[in-house]
């Protein structure tokens, strides 16, 4: 599904040039759950942003669904993103002024789905995330775990081919964090491809494979037993 080859990314300031990704290559197959680990500054979030088409790479190749997307224009990326990728963030990134329902619905609005169909899909995903009873609440009225469920619901509502999770349990206590990880595992079991960036060994083990990074390079790649 994803194949990156010699992917590079630099950050330059007036005086320094920092290498964030140094010719990194790997492949993710459909249905995989890959955990990316590494210390702060190792380049894992940068990698996730490039995989999510939120950021450009400075070199290398990125094939998404058999298509080279490295030189895509902003409009093409937005199109690809909204139809194929769901995001889950550490800080949930829900819009405070919108209700649970509206936050999830937003993902469908940009794909141009009709209102009646939207309602059906949103209700279905909220039901699945067991957050239906909170559909009219605003994010600030929810617990962290509930907020992350909403964020996952938003990521799923478009039936994306790929879910990218950036430290999804980082802002949660361990019990709630485990719940979210169970949720992601379940989604993976149902066929979703997931790439998750995490600091936590515990969380990383929910995946099928761990890619470890250091200073912008892939250090090791372990296949886990549950794959």
């Amino acid at each position: 599904m994803i194949k990156i080859n010699n992917l590079e990314k630099y950050f330059t300031t007036e005086e320094y040039k920092t290498i964030a990704l140094n010719k990194i290559s790997f492949e993710v197959k459909k249905g995989e759950f890959v955990s990316v680990m590494g210390p702060s500054g190792s380049g894992k979030s940068t990698l996730l942003n490039i995989l999510g088409l939120l950021d450009d790479a400075d070199g290398g190749s990125f094939i998404f669904n058999d298509e080279e997307v490295i030189n895509y224009k902003e409009r093409q990326r937005a199109h690809l993103r909204k139809h194929n990728i769901g995001f889950v963030f550490q800080s949930f990134n829900l819009i405070d002024e919108l209700t649970v329902f509206e936050n999830v619905e937003l993902a469908l609005i940009y794909t141009g789905i009709k209102k009646s169909e939207r309602k059906e899909k949103v209700d279905e995903v909220l039901e699945r995330m067991q957050i239906m009873h909170r559909r009219s609440h605003f994010p600030t009225q929810l617990s962290g775990g509930q907020q992350q469920r909403v964020a996952v619901a938003r990521a799923l509502v478009n039936d994306p081919k790929l879910i990218l999770a950036d430290e999804p349990t980082g802002n949660l206590d361990s019990k709630t964090g485990n719940e979210v990880m169970e949720l992601l595992t379940e989604l993976n079991n149902q066929g979703s491809t997931i790439i998750m960036v995490t600091h936590s060994e515990h969380d990383a083990k929910y995946g099928n494979r761990i890619i470890r990074m250091l200073d912008g390079e892939k250090v090791t790649e372990n296949l886990l037993s549950n794959y």
């Binding site: 950021d55 409009r75 199109h79 819009i95 509206e102 619905e105 940009y110 794909t111």
Partner: protein
């Protein structure tokens, strides 16, 4: 999607109450000013333009081929000649320039009404609502009169019953009402209650047959399709065969322009104010829009997450720009709603100040469309910068909280604040300078004593009984002296080349203002004699002349006393030279003036100099004297000092309005400043917390935040002052007599703006400085 935007806009307004309040208040104030000025400008632009034939109507004016002289005054016989000799002219109207009050009476009432004499084409050329009678033959006979609906209702039960009735005019002749009209529009300079036949005036005024007397206004209507330029060319030399006025050229001005471009010599007039207010309106709108831009972009940090999420979910730049523009337009529309409420509230006062009849209920649909377009434009203008700024944020930057480090954004925001304060400085300094100039002209020694000087209208009986009136008035204890003249000594009179003196060359076409005066002229007016004496004779066989200094120079006389001159053919002796005094606005230089002691011009005004003891009693005594000598006419009088102030009505109005708009401009700028400080403080919460932890005092923190803003304001002041200086210097040149540029105005403006800004900035920064540092740090 749109619904989603609406919902979000509304919730954003609710979530950020202070910001939304500042935004809506700023936009409301901006729109309020802009629309008010827009309504005024469109009203000014449409004055007198309601006439059906407006495209073919022209005011005639004359220019003198040598020496000064531009004026609407034309020979009274001109209209007949033009109609006869110029085929491209379809209609011509002669109109007397004596738009003054006359006494009318019937068996029920005696009332003063204002009106003038017009020739027969008048009602065909200009548009009136004719309620009764027939426009084409309304003033056919010398004793016919056309009266307004209001006048008809004053004297009669209703409009219908007025037709065919008679009214006594000036207690002397009976006039038959042949027509009742209503003005074609309220937006007109025409304010006559009645019109009389021009022929009747002709019959009573032998001097009108004199081509040299330029006392009549002439208007023409060109035939459809006539080439205006060609006709004008033809008219330029039309008078060359009329001996006494052969040096004058006839010019045409579109009638619709006469109101705004009445200053013929410079080709401007009230249009200057229209342009000036247009600029003011635009600048205020700009200040308000900048406020919005600044507040929205400063507040963008709050919206960043939303933008990030939308982008992640696939929102393109276009849809985000659309969203933020939509929000700005929505806010502008709600501000329009509030602005209209405020306009409706202040309109009565505004109409009173500006002498207008603007009525929101009767605005044409085109004006409403414009109002809506202006609002949309404001929304787009205000929303454009934040929209493009916000939508250009990179998602990765947003989630790394890096967006506020953009130095370009900060730079633009600072530049906008500087711009706002520059405009405020310009406004306030200009307002102060204008007020000083108005103050100066209103208090200037104009060469005669206008204080405690009463102008009393001399109706016909009183003209005959003038000597008795004067004798009676002088017996009243508060009265010092009495004289009479042909004109009230303020305003614009006709000019004439017809002054003859020894040694005048044949090609000398210099123009003079002439008036007729009487015994005690100098004493009553308080004018200063340079040489000679006051008028002491009122004897047609022994005509005396007073001339002013300018006339003396014009005639190149070194010792004018005793010399013989003649004006309109009445020759007499110069007995005195008066020091130049202003008999029109201080915008004009003093014109050569000759004052003759006798003549066939009627004396229509008596002047009474009184002292300040018990003015009410003095006035009452004069009124009762008037009633005894002139029982058929109401007592009509004016105070010369207030008449003088009326000369500066435009300036005065302009001053009042610009004061109001300047205050609003500074208020709007401060709203923006307040919002910016709020956001800066919010952004620097962590820094402030850290500083407090290491021991910074409240004062140190406050001055830290305040300092940055004050620098911007100082820059605004530094840029604004030279701009204000330049424009005011230019404006003052409109006045022949003006103040020196007062430097203290700039000091005052600067201090005022800094004080207001300091209060605004300190208010918020002290609040931030007082916050417990633990809280500031925890929030980060």
């Amino acid at each position: 999607m749109i619904k989603n935007y609406f919902k979000l806009t509304w919730r954003n307004i609710k979530a950020n109450k202070v910001l939304s309040f500042l935004n809506i208040l700023g936009l409301t104030s901006g729109l309020f000013c802009f629309l008010l000025i827009y309504l005024w400008i469109s009203s000014e632009n449409s004055v007198n333009k309601y006439h059906t034939n407006i495209d073919d109507l022209y005011s005639v004016y004359l220019t003198s081929s040598d020496g000064p002289g531009f004026g609407y005054g034309t020979p009274s016989l001109l209209y007949k000649e033009l109609k006869e000799k110029v085929p491209e002219i379809e209609g011509v109207v002669a109109m007397s320039n004596n738009n003054r009050n006359y006494t009318f009476s019937n068996n029920k009432k005696v009332l003063k009404q204002k009106g003038k004499h017009v020739s027969e084409d008048y009602f065909n050329m200009f548009s009136f609502n004719i309620l009764e009678g027939n426009a084409s033959n309304a003033l056919r006979n010398p004793n016919d009169i056309a009266i307004s609906k209001d006048m008809a209702e004053l004297f009669f039960d209703n409009v219908k019953s007025a037709i065919g009735q008679t009214l006594t005019f000036e207690n002397s002749k009976a006039l038959k009402i042949t027509m009742v009209f209503e003005l074609g529009s309220k937006n007109t300079t025409e304010n006559s209650d009645f019109y009389l036949s021009f022929d009747s005036l002709f019959a009573e005024s032998p001097w009108m047959t004199d081509w040299k007397n330029l006392g009549t206004y002439t208007f023409v209507q060109l035939t459809k399709g006539a080439d205006e330029k060609q006709v004008e060319q033809k008219l330029k030399t039309f008078l060359k065969d009329y001996e006494s006025v052969s040096l004058l050229a006839i010019e045409l001005q579109p009638y619709g322009d006469s109101y705004l471009y009445a200053d013929l010599e410079s080709g401007s007039g009230k249009i200057e104010y229209v342009r000036l207010f247009g600029i003011i309106a635009f600048l205020i709108m700009l200040i308000a829009s900048i406020n919005f831009m600044n507040l929205a972009s400063a507040g963008s940090i709050k919206r960043a997450k939303e933008i990030g999420v939308r982008k992640v979910l696939g929102a393109g730049k276009g849809s985000l720009v659309g969203q933020f523009l939509g929000e700005a337009i929505l806010l502008s529309l709600s501000s329009l709603f509030f602005a209209l409420i405020f306009i409706a509230l202040v309109l009565p006062v505004f109409n009173q100040i500006t002498d207008k009849n603007i009525d929101l209920e009767n605005l044409p649909i085109s004006t409403w469309i414009m109002v809506l377009l202006i609002t949309l434009f404001t929304g787009i203008l205000s929303g454009s910068y934040p929209a493009f700024l916000l939508s250009s944020f990179k998602v990765t930057d947003i989630f790394k909280k890096k967006i506020e480090t953009s130095s370009r954004t900060k730079w633009i925001r600072k530049a906008l604040v500087v711009f706002q304060f520059t405009i405020s400085v310009v406004f306030i300094s200009c307002m102060l300078i204008i007020s000083k100039q108005i103050d100066y002209v209103q208090n200037k020694d104009i060469g005669f004593e206008r204080e405690n000087l009463l102008a009393v209208t001399l109706s016909e009986d009183l003209q005959k009984n003038y000597n008795a009136f004067k004798t009676g008035a002088l017996q009243i204890s508060g009265v010092n002296s009495v004289t009479k003249t042909s004109h009230i000594l303020l305003g614009d009179y006709g000019t004439s080349p017809e002054v003859i003196w020894n040694g005048k060359s044949d090609d000398d076409g210099s123009l003079f203002t002439g008036m007729v005066g009487s015994i005690d002229f100098i004493k009553t007016y308080g004018a200063k004699l340079l040489m000679g004496r006051d008028l002491i004779h009122n004897n047609p066989d022994n005509i005396e002349y007073l001339i002013n200094e300018s006339a003396m120079k014009q005639m190149k006389m070194e010792n004018p006393l005793g010399q013989t001159i003649s004006f309109w053919g009445n020759s007499g002796t110069i007995v005195g030279v008066v020091k130049d005094f202003h008999f029109s606005s201080l915008k004009e230089s003093i014109f050569p003036l000759v004052i003759r002691s006798e003549g066939y011009v009627e004396f229509n005004t008596a002047f009474i100099k009184y002292n300040t003891d018990n003015v009410q009693q003095t006035l009452a005594s004069i009124e009762s004297l008037h009633a005894t000598l002139n029982p058929a006419f109401p007592f009509e009088y004016k105070f010369m000092d207030s008449e003088y102030n009326k000369l500066y009505k435009s300036e005065s109005t302009f001053y009042k309005l610009s004061t109001f708009f300047s205050i609003l401009a500074i208020l709007i700028s401060c709203l923006g400043l307040f919002g910016l400080v709020m956001f800066t403080a919010e952004q620097r919460t962590k820094e402030i917390g850290m500083r407090k932890v290491v021991g910074a005092s409240v004062f140190a923190i406050t001055s830290l935040i305040t300092r940055d803003f004050i620098k911007l304001i100082l820059l605004g002041i530094a840029i604004g002052i030279p701009i204000a200086w330049y424009f005011m210097n230019k404006w003052l040149t409109n006045y022949e007599y003006r103040i020196d540029m007062p430097w203290w105005v700039f000091v005052t403006t600067g201090s005022l703006i800094i004080s207001i800004a300091l209060v605004t900035v300190s208010f918020e920064s002290i609040k931030i400085a007082l916050v417990n540092p633990i809280k500031s740090l925890k929030n980060d």
